[in-house]
């Protein structure tokens, strides 16, 4: 078990070292390809370390902690840095390392046309991200977790805005940063409140405190709610989900890594890690569950009307995050965590496959694609694997974890959220196969002038460097699916007998419906849209949430800044200017005392002596 601690530490620090080297050694970074290789090799080493560490740490409910004192205070230490290695933490570590490694390899192909300096910058950010995310996963206390949380947010900003010359990308990066920051403020307040109540940031100490019960836990509801708000911002729960679709402005590998597998799951991981705290506040958990289920349904609805393939996947991610949160809210954090792992695999797969498509065709618009199955068979196969996993078909990765979540929701007593999740499952299958039918099957669309790329007529399969990660992920997705079907992990509950058929049936129904609408064209998509016009229109407008946020930003925040600026200029500066003007005037008036005539000065001296005598002899 001790070995796992050191291995985890090495897995965490190695990318940090790569980041330091890349950021400080400027010629290496500017050279492009060598920087990329450094980052890739380091991330492979981290992956190996993570796997070995997981093997050593596979005993459940045993934690290995390594701490270094950081901020000393009067009696003891305020907080430490280090690692807290549990079985689940190492699994998450593997996910982060694996997806990070695969994405970095993939990016070599995807960003092959980038200038070397930009490529170096990209890989520097990637290394920083891997370092921060691992630090978050292994954090033994809230302080380190929060610091890595913020670092991860920073990397997200840097990578979304990687093509910063494009105004949409810059705006999307700022939007992501702002909205997650709003959640982070509450997170920080929650952490500090928790500390003021219990006196510690450390997870292990808090765990013991909770086990022992006691006065310190009164009023924990507000604390856990604030912590949840931080997670809601990062994990794109309603209403903070609006940044995730816009984050698709970044390169597709970035979307695969950050906005599918790792960063957005940090919120879920946080709630999983601190589940012992949330168990003490069932009301907050119920809220988590409801919001999660609602987010799942809302995002699924929005995904049905998107024509940008990446946005479909983005809303799908939001939806799946809602699933995970719902499971946690039902009280079974393990189910949510399991889905986090499987989702990480197949969503990354889907994003990378979509990236291959975009790279080949030159456009994100699915209506400009069509018949890609014939021209890009390999990509089609892996995309199909990912889609089936997402839909929850047996023998694919997502099936078991999705079913776990549904049973968790049922067993936790959240029946209305359960219904929402079932409906969302139907819609998930529907919108994913909508994409399959429109983009891959069916007649090719008229060739449009895409931005870059080879045009639809020349679509071909991805080069090997991009295809290899795809195949690895697809194999992993299928492998996990088959493994779980044969020997699935024990659940804490027994699902009702009708649940599995319901789940599978709903998924199949979704596929069939999609086939009817988009494959056979037996049902007109437009007529369907008109039938549900009141949802459809709203969905197209993204339920006006983005506009609401933009309004708040422009009116409230910028307005507040303007008024504060006015106060600063006219009142604060004004007071100082008035004071200085008065000083100058007073000086001007006072200089008239200096008449230049000696007798006046004698006058002053005599007056002074008189006053002195009076003061000394004043009767006490």
């Amino acid at each position: 078990m001790a070995v796992s601690g050191f291995l985890a530490l090495w897995a965490w620090l190695a990318p940090g070292l790569a980041f330091l080297i890349l950021s400080l050694v400027v010629p290496l970074r500017r050279s492009g390809k060598p920087a990329a290789w450094l980052s890739i090799v380091v991330s492979l080493a981290a992956l190996v370390a993570a796997v070995v560490a997981a093997w050593h740490a596979r005993v459940p409910d045993v934690a290995r902690r390594m701490l270094w004192e950081w901020i000393p205070v009067e009696d003891g230490v305020l907080t430490s840095v280090g690692v807290l290695v549990t079985a689940e933490a190492t699994l998450m570590l593997i996910l982060v390392a694996l997806v990070s490694f695969l994405v970095q390899v993939y990016s070599l192909g995807y960003l092959a046309d980038e200038p070397p300096a930009s490529l170096g910058r990209y890989y520097t950010y990637q290394s920083l991200f891997t370092f921060s995310m691992m630090g978050l996963v292994l954090a033994p206390n809230f302080v380190q977790l929060f610091i890595c949380w913020e670092l991860v947010g920073l990397c997200s900003y840097l990578l979304i805005g990687y093509w910063y010359q494009r105004p949409e990308a810059a705006r999307a990066a700022v939007k992501a940063f702002w909205i997650t920051k709003a959640g982070d403020v509450f997170f920080l307040i929650g952490i500090v409140m928790l500390w003021s109540r219990t006196g510690t940031f450390d997870f292990a100490e808090l765990f013991e405190l909770v086990q022992g019960g006691g006065e310190a836990l009164a009023g924990l509801g507000l604390v856990t709610f604030f912590i949840y708000l931080g997670a809601a911002g990062k994990s794109a729960q309603f209403p903070f989900h609006v940044w995730l679709p816009d984050a698709m402005e970044g390169p597709t590998p970035v979307s695969a890594l950050i906005h599918a597998a790792t960063m957005v799951t940090a919120g879920v991981y946080l709630l999983f890690r601190t589940a012992f705290l949330f168990e003490q506040t069932p009301d907050v958990l119920a809220a988590v569950g409801w919001i999660g289920a609602f987010t799942a349904l809302l995002a699924a609805t929005l995904a049905c009307v998107q024509s940008d393939i990446k946005r479909v996947l983005a809303y799908s991610t939001v939806s799946q995050l809602g699933y995970m949160m719902a499971a946690i809210g039902a009280g079974f954090a393990g189910a949510g965590f399991l889905h986090l792992l499987t989702h990480g695999v197949f969503k990354a797969l889907l994003f990378l496959a979509a990236g291959a498509v975009i790279h080949a065709v030159g456009t994100n618009d699915i209506h400009a694609m069509g018949g890609l199955a014939r021209r890009m068979p390999q990509t089609f196969i892996v995309f199909l694997v990912g889609t089936l996993s997402l839909a929850g078909i047996p023998f694919f990765a997502g099936f078991f974890s999705k079913e776990e979540i549904l049973s968790a929701a049922w067993a936790g007593g959240l029946t209305v959220p359960f219904g929402m999740l079932v409906l969302a499952a139907f819609l998930t299958a529907f919108y994913m196969f909508r994409v399959v039918f429109i983009a891959f099957l069916g007649a090719p669309a008229v060739a449009s002038a895409g931005h870059g790329g080879h045009g639809e007529a020349h679509a071909h399969d991805a080069p090997a460097i991009m295809a290899l990660p795809l195949w690895i992920l697809a194999a992993l997705a299928m492998g996990i699916g088959i493994w779980f079907s044969i020997a699935h992990p024990e659940a804490e509950f027994v699902p009702p007998g009708w649940l599995t058929p319901l789940a599978v049936g709903v998924a199949v129904a979704g596929i069939v419906f999609a086939w009817l609408v988009y494959g056979l064209r037996a049902i007109s998509g437009d007529r369907l849209f008109e039938r549900f016009w009141w949802i459809g229109e709203a969905a197209v407008e993204r339920f006006w949430l983005d506009d609401l946020f933009a309004l708040v930003y422009r009116r409230v925040i910028l307005g507040a800044s303007r008024s504060i600026g006015w106060v600063d200029r006219y009142i604060v500066d004004g007071i100082l200017n008035v004071l200085s003007a008065w000083t100058l005037t007073a000086g001007d008036r006072l200089r008239r005392i200096q008449t230049g005539q000696a007798q006046d000065y004698v006058y002053g001296v005599a007056l002074g002596v008189l006053l002195l005598m009076v003061w000394m002899r004043w009767p006490k």
């Binding site: 005392i593 200096q594 008449t595 230049g596 005539q597 000696a598 007798q599 004698v602 006058y603 005599a606």
Partner: protein, 99 residues
């Protein structure tokens, strides 16, 4: 006479001298006022020396008289110099240090 009488006499002389210093226009008049003040101090010193039995006060008086003589000499020399340059001995006109 009592010590108090001498001190009172000296105090009055001092204030008269101060009045002269403050009010006289002519620089030499100011110097005369200063003379009066120093005189008052001398009377004070001698009176104390006599009544307390300590001869140091008289020694001090010798010193002050000598120093006063030197100061007056130089002071009047300065007045004459200024007179040569500025053509005036009226103190009010010597206000080059006016702020």
């Amino acid at each position: 006479m009592t010590l108090q009488a001498y001190l009172t006499l000296a105090a009055m002389l001092f204030c008269v001298g101060l009045f002269g210093v403050i009010t006289r226009r002519n620089t030499i008049g100011i110097l005369l006022g200063i003379e009066l003040m120093l005189n008052a101090v001398n009377i004070n010193l001698v009176a104390f020396a006599r009544f307390l039995g300590d001869v140091s006060g008289m020694v001090f008086t010798v010193f002050t008289i000598c120093i006063t003589v030197a100061e007056v000499a130089l002071g009047l020399a300065l007045v004459i110099l200024i007179f040569r340059i500025r053509r005036t001995a009226v103190a009010d006109h010597l206000d080059l240090l006016k702020g």
